[in-house]
C-alpha cells in the first residue's frame, strides 16, 4: 500500500525525523490558511498523488504571497497531473501539502528496501539527490552507496558510518545524518515497510538535515498487524474496478485490450494473457481468482469483467486438478445466468469429470464454448474478437 507524502511525513515526525513546517490542504481556502499559519513567504505547494515525478510534471510550485497561494492552489487542485508514472490520462489532484521554503546547501538521496536476492534490508544513499536515482545509477554509479543490514541483528553504528563516510557529505551534518538513518530503520521494521525513500534529503544552509520529500509504501501482507495504517488508504488513487475486485478478494489489473479473461492462479493467469496476445488478440485484464475455484468466485469474476465496456469476449481458464469439472461448470452456468451474460465465452477447464462438465456447458443454452487445451482456447477467443483490438469481427 502506498501513502501520500504528507502522511509519510506525519510518520517521520513521530519518529523524530525533521520535516519542513507545513500542513495538508484539501481546498484553496485550506491552502491559504495553511500558508498563513506558516507565518512567512515563500511557501511551496506540492500536489499529493501517489505517483513519482511530480516536480517535472508541474505539481510542485512556489508561492511568494497570499494571492499567489490562492492562484497556485486553485490551478493545482483542478489539474490532472501527468508524470512518467501516471500514464497519459494523469491523476486528478485532490490534496496539497503547503510547506515552508528552505535555504538548501546540499541535496541527498536515501532509501530503505528489502533486497530479495540478498535476503537483507538494503540502505541506498547518494550525494546526487533531487534527481531520478535510476539515472544516477546509470550515469554515475560511484555516487551510490549500498549497505545491507542483517534483519536479525538490526542496524549497528558501523552501518551508519559506512553510509555517511561513503558520501561526499558536509562534515557538520554527519552526526544528524547518522541519527536519521537509525530512525528510518526503526520505522521500516516497526511498520512492515516495503519502501522508505527521501529524495531529496536536504542539508540547509544552517546545517540542519531535513526530509524535504517523503515516500512510504507498506507490505500488503503486513497490514493486518498495523490497523493504524488503514486510515492512510486513499481510494481515489485506485482504479475503481481494481478496488471492487480487491473487495471480492480477487487480483485484478486493468489492461488495454478487449479479451476479458479469468484464471485460477497468478502464474497461469499471466501465461494465459501471453497466449491471448500470441494468438493475435489483446487481453483486457489480468484476473486471478485464486488457486482454488468456486462458483461464487467465478460469479464475482464475471461481475468485474462485465463492468469493463471494452470486453468483447471472455476466456475462462481453470486448471482445477482436484476440483471436479461438473461442479465448476454448474458454477459457471449459474454465474452467467446471475449476471445476465450476453458475451461469447470460451471455457477451458481441467480436472476430474471433464466430460460431464463439458456436457453441462453445452446444454446450458448460453453462448459457452469449450476448448480442449490452452492452445485451442486462445485460437477460439482470437477468432471471436477478430485478431487485433478494435478490429471488426
Amino acid at each position: 500500500m502506498k501513502i501520500h507524502e504528507y502522511q509519510a511525513k506525519e510518520i517521520f515526525a513521530r519518529y523524530g525525523i525533521p520535516v519542513p513546517a507545513g500542513g495538508a490542504a484539501f481546498s484553496v481556502e485550506e491552502a491559504v490558511s495553511a500558508a498563513e499559519d506558516l507565518g512567512s513567504y515563500p511557501v511551496v505547494l506540492k500536489a499529493q498523488i501517489h505517483a513519482g515525478g511530480r516536480g517535472k510534471g508541474g505539481g510542485v510550485q512556489l508561492a511568494r504571497s497570499r494571492e499567489e497561494v490562492q492562484s497556485v492552489a486553485s490551478s493545482l487542485l483542478s489539474m490532472n497531473l501527468v508524470t512518467h508514472q501516471t500514464g497519459e490520462r494523469g491523476q486528478p489532484v485532490n490534496r496539497l501539502l503547503v510547506e515552508q521554503g528552505l535555504d538548501i546547501e546540499q541535496e541527498l538521496y536515501l532509501s530503505f528496501l528489502p533486497d530479495r536476492s540478498a535476503g537483507k534490508i538494503a540502505v541506498v544513499a547518494s550525494d546526487a539527490g533531487g534527481v531520478d536515482i535510476e539515472e544516477v545509477a546509470r550515469e554515475s554509479p560511484e555516487r551510490i552507496v549500498t549497505v545491507h543490514v542483517d534483519p536479525l541483528l538490526g542496524m549497528y553504528p558501523y552501518h551508519c558510518r559506512r553510509v555517511a563516510f561513503g558520501l561526499d557529505l558536509l562534515p557538520e551534518a554527519r552526526k544528524e545524518f547518522m541519527a536519521l538513518l537509525g530512525r528510518m530503520y526503526r520505522i521500516f521494521i516497526d511498520q512492515d515497510c516495503s519502501l522508505l525513500e527521501i529524495n531529496p534529503l536536504v542539508i540547509t544552509t544552517d546545517k540542519r538535515v531535513i526530509a524535504l520529500d517523503a515516500k512510504a509504501a507498506f507490505d500488503d501482507n503486513g497490514l493486518v498487524r498495523h490497523q493504524n495504517l488503514a486510515a492512510y488508504r486513499d481510494p481515489e488513487e485506485e482504479d475503481p474496478l481494481e478496488r471492487q475486485a480487491s473487495e471480492y478478494g480477487l487480483n485484478y489489473i486493468k489492461m488495454e485490450g478487449n479479451v476479458g479473461n479469468m484464471v485460477n492462479g497468478a502464474g497461469l493467469a499471466m501465461a494465459t494473457m501471453d497466449l491471448i496476445k500470441q494468438a493475435g488478440a489483446e487481453p483486457a485484464n489480468f484476473l486471478d481468482v485464486g488457486g482454488g475455484a468456486s462458483a461464487e468466485m467465478v460469479e464475482n469474476g464475471f461481475k468485474i469483467l462485465l463492468s469493463d465496456d471494452s470486453v468483447r469476449a471472455v476466456l475462462i481458464n481453470i486448471f482445477g486438478g482436484i476440483l471436479r469439472c461438473d461442479v465448476l461448470a454448474r458454477g459457471v452456468v449459474q454465474a452467467a445466468e446471475q449476471v445476465g451474460l450476453n458475451l461469447p465465452v470460451v471455457v477451458r477447464m481441467e480436472g476430474t469429470n471433464v466430460e460431464e462438465g463439458r456436457r453441462i456447458l453445452a446444454e446450458s443454452g448460453l453462448d459457452l464454448r469449450t476448448a480442449g487445451d490452452v492452445r485451442e482456447a486462445a485460437q477460439q477467443i482470437a477468432a471471436i474478437v477478430g485478431g487485433a483490438p478494435g478490429g471488426n469481427a
Partner: protein, 293 residues
Amino acid sequence: MSIYVDENTRVVVQGITGREGRFHTRQCLDYGTAVVAGVTPGKGGQEMEGVPVYDTVAGAVEDTGANCSLIFVPPTLAADAVLEAADAGIGLAVTITEGIPVLDMLRVKTHLQSSQLRLIGPNCPGIISPGRSKVGIMPGAIHKPGGPIGVVSRSGTLTYEVVDQLTKQGIGQSTCLGIGGDPVNGTSFLDALEAFERDPETAGVLIVGEIGGDAEERAAEFAAREMHKPVVGFVAGLTAPPGRRMGHAGAVISGGSGTARSKIEALRENGVTVCEDLGSLGDCCARAFLGVL
C-alpha cells in the same frame, strides 16, 4: 531416485485441523504419502483422518520420527511454525501458506542459514516425487511416475498445466516442485537445479519462471556453468505491465528489470532451450529432451 522427498519421507502436517490442512492431509494419504503426525496447539491427543495430533512439532518428531513438515498455518503465524520445525530437527519444511510478511521471511531465511532445515516455499503448491510421495496440494493424478524429467516452478496452477502437458506427451517426472511466488523464499531455482544435476534418475529439467527478481537469470548462469543435463525454460508475463504486482507478491517488474523478455534472453544466452508459447510447451519438451528420454 528423486530430489528432497521419496518413500522415506515421514510427514508432520502443521495446522492439520484447519480446513485446508485436513483436506490435503486426506489427499496426501490417498496418494500414498506417509503422513505420520499432525500439529495443532491445544489439540494434542486427538486424531485427524486417522493421523495422531500433537501440541508441538518436537512432540510429534519424538513419537513418530517425522522428518518433513507440511505447513498450512495462517500467514502471521507461519514464521513461528517454520522456526519451530527447524528447532525440532525437521530436515524439510514445505510451506503452502500465502501472504507471509516479507520482514518475517527475511528473518526466517537469515536464521535458516545456520540450521539443517531446507525450506520450500512459502506461497507454493509443494513437492511431489510421482509414485513415491506427495507433500503438497497439487493434484497427484496428472503426474507420471518413473522420471526422467525434473520440474521446478515459481507458480502453482501453471506448474499443473506444464506437468499435464508432459504427461500427455508420455514424459514422466522424477520430482516436481513449486518454489513459491513470494519475493523471499527458501529453496531457489539454483538449489533445485543443483539437486537435479546430482540426481541420477533425472535426465533433464524444465524450469518455469515468471516476471520479477533475478532468480531465472541466476539459474541460467548456473545451468551454463555447472550442468550437463539439458534444461528447458518457460517464462510467464510477456504481457505484464511494469510496476504492477501480478497476483504473486514477487511478480513485479521494477525499474525495467525483471521482465519476461530479459529472463528469456538470459536463459537462451546460457544454452537453455526456451519455449515462449505455453500451448506448445509439451511438444517443445518432447523435442528438446529427445536425446535423454
